[in-house]
Symmetry: C2
Subunit: 346 residues, 2 copies
DNA sequence: TTGTAAGCGTTATCAC
DNA sequence: GTGATAACGCTTACAA
């Protein structure tokens, strides 16, 4: 008893496996084994060790463990804050999924995507077991991941140059389907409010739109630049109407946020009937798009499935070595809302 | 040169400070010093070491470092996903602020707040330097933080029993002001769509509303339970109207999301003129509340200031020991939108 | 099954 | 300013 008290006293100095060992009357390595998954310990020792551990409030020191296992059980999540604002759920979803595999998320977020190099140098300091990258990554940065043999998966990004591990949603295909159905609904004159220049996703969407319009022998869209935010919608629409002198048949917005801004501007500022006089569509399928005031016609990305795929890919790589790079592509689905006159899905 | 090549070859096995030392022709401890802030190294050695480090792509091993400094430079962020959905920005904001102090955020998120105990046992494994808790924490859990001498700050939570380190927004006061101005605007019959039972913030808001109404000698509000989400708004309003047989003068919603759901339901389903026939208010001041379709009358929490305060408090504690517990209270401000007839601020 | 002892890659404490 | 050397708290052969 006095023994326990003495040890508890020392606890301010941190309880180690030695303390537990001496209280339980076993060796330190026995204690260590008790805290490992498939160890070889007798029922009796295990019980005594656990009792002692509980009495002392002992928890293994992760730093020491990771020092010789060379695994930190930590995964870096690199996100630009654009991502967190649009899909707040992916951060917590990833955290939940990974914690099921005993992995924790170490967060690296940044405003300016140019900061990525500085961020990466911070990343290397931590002995992360892998990384999820939901931000722009250049070829030389990808090369650094490979040189350091750190498993990584890109989220909704890809490299044009070659295949790297990535989970993406087929944006161009989504755009094609959307345009097809709008065309089938009778729209002829299109405008497009683009996303920010730096975004590959935005580029894919824009290209998909233009490509499909060309295929259908329709006039190319009037393109104005946006920034993925709510205000871009109103700014974009004003610019479009100013340029054309009248509303087009349809405005395709780079994402839902922009579309909702555009919609509000069309209705409140221009008193336009949407979709009577003008169709407006978004991309993403965020929860707000479903709200009664919007019921936006959009294209939904299967975010939940995508985060699951990321988890699966990364944990596999961590467990079993590199394997060959693969890209998992998910299809988006059109959400037939109340802001566009879509033709049949044929 | 051959030397460098040999070392680079071995890099697959991980570059250590010894590798750098031997390449630079100095001792290992010299290398170590070069990577410490206020070390004592000559310009010459520093230069040579850095050159060698760059050549080998050396980065200090954080696990080893934290093993004997007893600091991981990691801070745990405990959030229920309610928080992340409502304030997606706080996660990235905290990450940004802390990274300015050389601290990284280790994310612990959970759906069910009951999971907190299991989560905490995971937290202790990592040698975190501190914790931010944006989730419900009971007295015994607070005690555990204290017993383990882990600095922590509660975000928008507090303990009824005693003062612990916390950054909060004065919800009750916010509710009082809101009710006062609604009363000054001529409202007499109030209804309240509450937040989830478990939320202290929601409770404070409810109590503030009831207390102020009582003070003003107005009838107590009709209270219906909600869940902080968009659907709660419509469900709540239907229940209120069913119970009263007619709309009240004002519906105070526990948060913006609920208020927007309530607003949409009032306008689209009940064809009510808001704020002509009915006033609706929220709490929080989320970005969506400002959108043209809503222009919600609400009460804004100074989230940015609050995250800054958290950062300051926690980094101070990490640097300078415990200090005495303090609570930093911020005031909310009424956002005079277009969904309620508010009286003067007097 | 259990104990002994050698790392893991740093930082910290000394002499020099 | 610099270089030995002892921690830090664990995992992991290897021997018993």
């Amino acid at each position: 008893m006095a023994d326990i008290q003495a040890l508890i006293q020392r606890q301010a100095r941190r309880v180690t496996s030695y303390d537990v060992a001496s209280l339980a009357g076993v060796s330190q390595s026995a204690v260590s084994r008790c805290f490992q998954p498939g160890a070889s310990v007798s029922k009796a020792t295990f019980a005594r060790v656990m009792e002692a551990a509980k009495a002392l409030d002992y928890t293994p020191n992760a730093a020491a463990r990771s020092l010789n296992t060379r695994r930190s059980n930590q995964v870096a999540l690199l996100v630009s804050n654009l991502v967190t604002l649009h899909y707040p759920e992916i951060v917590t979803e990833l955290s939940r999924h990974f914690s099921g595999h005993g992995l924790r998320i170490l967060l690296f977020s940044f405003t300016d995507e140019g900061d990525i190099d500085r961020t990466l140098s911070e990343v290397w300091q931590h002995q992360i077991d892998g990384a999820i990258v939901a931000a722009r990554l250049g070829p030389q940065q990808v090369a650094e991941f490979e040189r350091r043999a750190v498993p990584f998966v890109l989220f909704n990004r890809h490299l044009r140059e070659r295949v790297v591990n990535a989970v993406v949603c087929d944006q161009a295909e989504a755009a094609r389907i959307l345009v097809s159905r709008l065309a089938a609904g009778g729209h002829r004159r299109f405008a497009l409010i683009e996303g920010p220049r730096g975004s590959v996703v935005a580029q894919d969407r824009s290209r998909g739109v233009s490509a499909r319009l060309a295929q259908l022998k329709l006039a190319p869209p009037l393109i104005v630049r946006g920034n993925y935010d709510y205000d871009s919608g109103a700014r974009g629409l004003r610019e479009i109407i100013a340029t054309l002198g009248a509303p087009p048949d349809a405005v395709i917005c780079a994402n839902d946020l922009t579309a909702m801004g555009c919609l509000d501007c069309a209705r409140h500022d221009f008193q336009l009937d949407v979709p009577g006089q003008l169709s407006i569509t978004g991309f993403d399928g965020v929860p707000q798009a479903g709200w009664l005031s919007y019921r936006l016609t959009t294209v939904r990305q299967p975010v939940e499935q995508m985060t699951l795929a990321v988890t699966e890919m990364l944990t596999d790589m961590i467990a079993g070595g590199p394997g060959r790079p693969q890209q998992r592509v998910f299809a988006a689905t059109v959400v037939d809302g109340a802001t566009a006159r879509l033709g049949p899905a044929f």
